[in-house]
Symmetry: C3
């Protein structure tokens, strides 16, 4: 039988002891768990960045994987801890919108409010539910506990205000920058299905005072001008060959993006 | 039989090959080891920060876990390499005070000077005992070698000059800042048991020119003033809701902290 | 049977979802794989730094380990994806010179052009061969697929322009700085075998306007002057006791280094 996989996504960083404490708790409950870090470098308290990063990673893991997400500015306050079954995977974390993008892709979901303290690490602190609630609950799930033992069903989940692109007729689309990756590629919330004429007709993309007119199949190009590329997650990205588009063009998350067919 | 767990805490960073070399050596000796990183971002040569971080993490791991600690400014000089049994766990590293806080919590200990070169990676370099002594010794322990084969007993260990808080009567306590976490929370060396009237009586905490009078149960608060909270490790912390207390208030490790009951 | 080990070296960083996506793909194909990170903090597009770091790490892993290397500025263009058998290990990545230093140490090699799409993650994107080609191929190898099923033999591999030191007679050697480690130690491409008189005769090393005359057995020294030490990888390094030699002496990768016997 394959070892159960548990992934971790947090804004804890890797300098402090927080992530290790969660892993220690998991291994104490489910020694055969295979723990994989998705990222611990989500900007502190940024539910949007956490939701985006998780949405890009979760579907590459095998069915049955348990994903712990902890970007939790409201820890200790009234927001609910939940477990969500969707797309053949399990998601464990606070009900604050962190799973919005993953669930939009996964389709149907079933969620439960984590209330059975039998599966918590006790005493539960007011400041570290990652260690005291989410890690032990995920480990018990990995060890075979049925989700229905963890709490009663929840009918609605908090949704992150989604920023879907707006189309105006068949030749215009307005979106925003949602992420900058380590290489400086500027990820927009616009996909090729929103602008199917890209790559076939001339176009103009406007962002932060720049105009981009070039669409390329990959990042390797012999031009010094910025170009558009379809990133591996499906979204359109603005890129500079061997450069850092975000820094050099001064484009930031939240900047508006306009694309128009010419 | 559960897989043996080996944790790693170093000041090596994760950019260079150092940590990977240690993991390679471990897996060559004990392929079934489950290796978990505690932190590799301890400030270079900071035994204090390493000792604090290890003390917060080790006790969450299952009994029998082997913890390798390598913050070792004296590598290659006369400081002794040791293995320490305490609290049902094993600690492997230099005898330079790195395990002081963990051992204070674990209680009774038994230590040995690592001298049996049969369990070393040879030739032993003068600059990288993490790879050549500590990783292979930990792996052999994980594979079942008895600690008494590794060297003879040691009667005293180097202690890190501990900075316990000082109480003056029943209404005052003086301590210091021992760590800043990734969120900017300012961790002091004072616990609620040192100042049991906190949360029940009015008080004033003075640090770096600021006065804090507010005690809160968790980090989620609707105030812009700094407040005191009991961190998940038990120590009192100075925090700003959704802010970075250390940067915004200019509080640094080593700063004195005074608490007085009003 | 021991679990197959797969290592990862990339310039992806650990903030984004890229590394996690690769690990998810691996575990979907070979659930028993033991995945170890070598480094994800190679400077973006720096094949030289990646080649150096991999060369220092790979040989510490057990025979049969599969090393994935992805520093790939040419992803999606014509450079070939390859698998290389050498020194009892397997290397999977782009044929762009990234494996040059490892292969120089490993000796004889046999390489194949990865062309059998049956072992790819489909559809193969133009921007993320780490996830779509290298991770799944490595996982299939770990699961027992024979390299000869992956593609036909390749006769030559792209070599990174190696920067071997130049000797002038028996008393001079010219080299360069190849890396700075996290502690600021300045790693040169000169080994003790190039200058066997070091440590026995007086010498002068010149770098970035500084003269170093002191050779020490390890990093722990009571001097404030820079000194030379043999690093754990065998190369000579310029170091400052408890200081950061690169920052304080303003020495950078690529700087020329001259050593002369006096």
């Amino acid at each position: 039988m394959p070892r159960p996989v548990i992934t971790l996504l947090t804004d804890f960083g890797t300098r402090d002891h927080y992530v290790a404490a969660m892993k220690g708790v998991i291994l104490g409950i489910c020694p055969e768990a295979q723990i994989v870090d998705i990222s611990h470098e989500i900007a502190s308290y940024s539910i949007a960045e956490g939701a985006y990063t998780l949405s890009q990673a979760w579907r590459h893991f095998p069915a049955g994987t348990i994903h712990i997400g902890v970007v939790d500015p409201g820890v200790g306050s009234k927001r609910r801890p939940v477990v969500i079954e969707a797309g053949g995977h399990l998601f464990v974390g606070p009900d604050n919108g962190l799973f919005t993008f993953a669930l939009a892709a996964a389709g149907k979901w079933r969620a439960r409010h984590l209330r059975n303290v039998r599966y918590f690490h006790r005493p539960v602190s007011r400041t570290f539910h990652g260690r005291d609630i989410f890690a032990p609950v995920a480990a018990h799930l990995a060890a075979g506990v049925d989700p229905q033992e963890l709490g009663s069903l929840v009918r609605t989940l908090t949704k992150f205000p989604s920023a879907l692109p707006q189309k105006s007729g068949k030749s215009r689309c307005s979106g925003t920058v949602i992420s900058i990756d380590k290489f400086g590629n500027v990820v927009t919330n616009i996909t090729l299905s929103d602008v199917p004429w890209i790559g076939k007709s001339p176009f103009e993309l406007r962002v932060a005072g720049h105009i981009v007119r070039d669409f390329r199949p990959h990042y390797s190009a012999k031009t010094t001008a910025p170009f558009l590329v379809q990133g591996s997650g499906g979204w359109l990205e603005i890129s500079l060959a061997k450069g850092h588009a975000s820094n050099q063009l001064r484009i930031h998350p939240g900047d508006p993006v306009e694309i128009q067919k010419n």
